[in-house]
């Protein structure tokens, strides 16, 4: 918020009574009517509906009329035979994703930022963004084609005929590598934009002093990126339990479930496919609560590292 500007504007406005100010702006409130209504109906009422995690939801009795059962659904989830497997898979899949996919956009941005051939730089950026604009469905279709045991690109190159999607040991690698392919290029935008704001006279001064390219990156660019890096890391760590449903569901086979069984897929299967509404809501809520705890913890730790990055 640019505080000075809004203060002066507010000062001018507060000279008139509140009622008059509201009447003056009725058209602006009218514009907000539809968005506010949509948000209440489809965002806030479902939040209120989370209480069915503690009830035995029956469609006829509604959110508040269904019988209260306390923590029964949570206890049932904790004692599910695949509970620990799902927790482990969810955490490991997103932790390894984070470890691999966090540094790569930063490295790419640092390199591209130093590229002096502008047309080449632009073409590279355009191509790097491309996979981000492709549907997960298409990406997973490509993965399946490339990994096909007969005639798949990977097997053709390696001269083997391995059915990778039936190997649970290969699942995480497939998931993470394809994720990097799809989104690392898009991830550079925020870093490129930050780097573009660095004063170019710093580079000139460093060159005069005889600093090499590597030294300029280490001493000018990386310090410039630190706060945005920490911010991004917090955001990612806060969603550690949020493994996306789409890709896992599309790449899951009966034989790789030992590593591909994750909570989000379970929430979908129980809630939508099996119509166990209360149970699925409880599992989803459990996941959200852990995420919020993680977010607060990481935010606190990051606050200790640097003051400017607390964002809640």
């Amino acid at each position: 918020m640019s505080k000075n500007k809004s203060k002066t504007a507010a000062a001018v406005m507060t000279q008139r009574p509140l009622k008059k100010r509201i009447m003056d702006n009725w058209q602006l409130y009218a514009m907000l009517a539809v968005p506010v209504l949509l948000t209440i109906v489809y965002k806030y009422i479902p939040m209120y509906g989370i209480q069915i995690a503690f009830r035995d939801y029956k469609a006829s009795k509604g959110f508040t009329g269904s019988e209260w059962v306390g923590f029964e659904w949570f206890l049932r989830f904790f004692s599910a035979p695949t509970f620990w497997r799902m927790i482990k898979n969810t955490v490991l899949l997103s932790l390894f994703s984070l470890l691999w996919s966090f540094p790569i956009p930063i490295i790419l941005a640092l390199l591209l930022n130093q590229m002096r051939f502008h047309r080449f730089k632009r073409v590279t950026q355009t191509v790097l963004y491309a996979p981000h604009f492709i549907s997960t469905m298409v990406i997973c279709g490509m993965i399946r084609i490339f990994l096909s045991p007969s005639g798949g690109l990977i097997n053709l190159i390696a001269g083997t005929s391995i059915d990778f999607l039936t190997e649970s040991a290969a699942f995480r690698t497939i998931y993470i590598a394809s994720g990097i392919w799809q989104d690392a290029g898009w991830g550079i935008i925020i870093y490129m934009a930050t780097l573009a704001n660095i004063d170019t006279s710093l580079y000139e001064a460093a060159k005069v002093d005889g600093a090499s390219l590597f030294q300029r990156i280490c001493h000018i660019d990386i310090p410039g990126l630190t706060s945005i890096m920490v911010l991004n890391l917090i955001m990612s760590a806060g969603s550690l339990m949020n493994v996306g449903f789409e890709k896992v569901w599309l790449l899951q086979t009966d034989l790789n479930k030992a590593t591909s069984d994750v909570i989000s897929v379970y929430v979908y299967q129980q809630g939508i496919e099996n119509a166990k509404y209360s149970y699925s809501t409880a599992v989803g809520l459990f996941n959200t609560v852990i995420n919020v705890i993680l977010l607060i913890l990481v935010n606190k730790m990051a606050g200790r590292i640097s003051d400017e990055t607390s964002f809640i």
Binding site: P35, V36, I50, L111, F117, I134, I145, D163, W181, L213
Partner: protein
């Protein structure tokens, strides 16, 4: 490359080590470019090649026995045509709806001194971090009678808050206040100011938002999977699920049993490659037009988000 380096301004100043580091950068970037582009290129050439040659590994660099049979087969498949039609419909209506809602939200929230502005902003931003989750949302959508209704794709998404913040910041920072104030002194209503000054002055950010919405609707299938169960309403990606995901599982089983690609259904294999291209191409053609605005928009969103 050499000609370009001479042209570039600081090239004159650089000595040997600068040139070496330029070469290293170009080499690394070329490798990265290849890694990103090759899978797409491979699908493209495989889509116009004979499937047996693809499966024998004869199409690494160039198409073999050029044919458009795959594309002809795709457009002869009624399911895919329905999906394509649905996808176009959902994308167009959804984009218009989303961008209108986005603008209607972002503009009032960008007007300084609007009573309740802060409260309203927080009201929207909270939904970025907390939600009801899959099932409660599903139950509300069901309750409001939207199952198997196209509007289930647009209404529950409501306001795209992240994009809304970007647009709001654009209004605050890039539209000269003098212009909106002058219009209101001349007697224009708030609504008229919005339509005649703010909307025309924000064309660049609108282009970005249109592209973002189009991409989101064109690529989405999960919302349709949940809310539009009847097959004749499925968008293209959901139709492709049967071709790309389900059939590949059975195909790989079949091939392990028969021990090769002799049993391969030639048509299915051709359709796979060409349908990928058809699903991916429209968005890949569009985004470069607004690419130059991405960085600006993201920066505006990040600074104040």
């Amino acid at each position: 490359m050499r000609a370009m380096s001479v042209k570039s301004k600081s090239g004159k100043l650089s000595g040997f080590s600068e040139r070496t580091s330029d070469i290293i950068l170009v080499v690394i970037c070329t490798v990265v470019l290849f890694l990103v582009a090759y899978p797409l290129y491979y699908v493209l050439i495989a889509s116009v090649s004979d499937p047996y040659d693809v499966y024998a590994g004869k199409t690494f660099l160039l198409p073999s026995q050029f044919t458009l049979e795959g594309y002809r087969a795709v457009f002869a498949e009624p399911q895919i045509l329905t999906g394509l039609f649905n996808s176009f419909k959902y994308t167009i209506i959804g984009t218009v709806f989303s961008v209108v809602v986005l603008y209607l939200t972002a503009y009032p929230l960008s007007v300084k001194g609007l009573p309740g502005r802060k409260f309203l902003s927080i009201f929207f931003i909270i939904t970025m971090y907390f939600g009801g989750g899959m099932v409660p949302t599903y139950l509300i959508v069901k309750h409001t009678g939207l199952i198997n209704n196209m509007w289930a794709l647009f209404l529950p998404g409501g306001v795209a808050v992240g994009n809304m913040i970007i647009v709001r910041n654009f209004f605050e920072n890039s539209i000269p206040k003098e212009m909106t104030e002058a219009a209101q002194i001349d007697g224009a209503s708030k609504w008229k100011t919005f339509i005649q000054i703010v909307v025309p002055l924000s064309r660049s950010i609108m282009a970005v938002m249109v592209v973002f919405s189009m991409v989101a609707y064109w690529n989405d299938w999960f919302t349709s999977l949940i809310y539009l169960p009847s097959p004749e309403r499925a968008p293209l990606p959901l139709v492709l699920r049967n071709i790309l995901i389900k059939s590949s599982a059975s195909a790989s089983q079949a091939s392990t049993i028969s021990g090769g690609f002799a049993e391969l259904n030639k048509m299915t294999e051709m359709i796979k490659f060409s349908s990928i291209i058809i699903a991916a191409l429209p968005m890949l053609v569009i985004y470069p037009f607004v690419q130059k605005y991405f960085e600006k928009g993201f920066m505006a969103g990040a600074v104040k988000g």
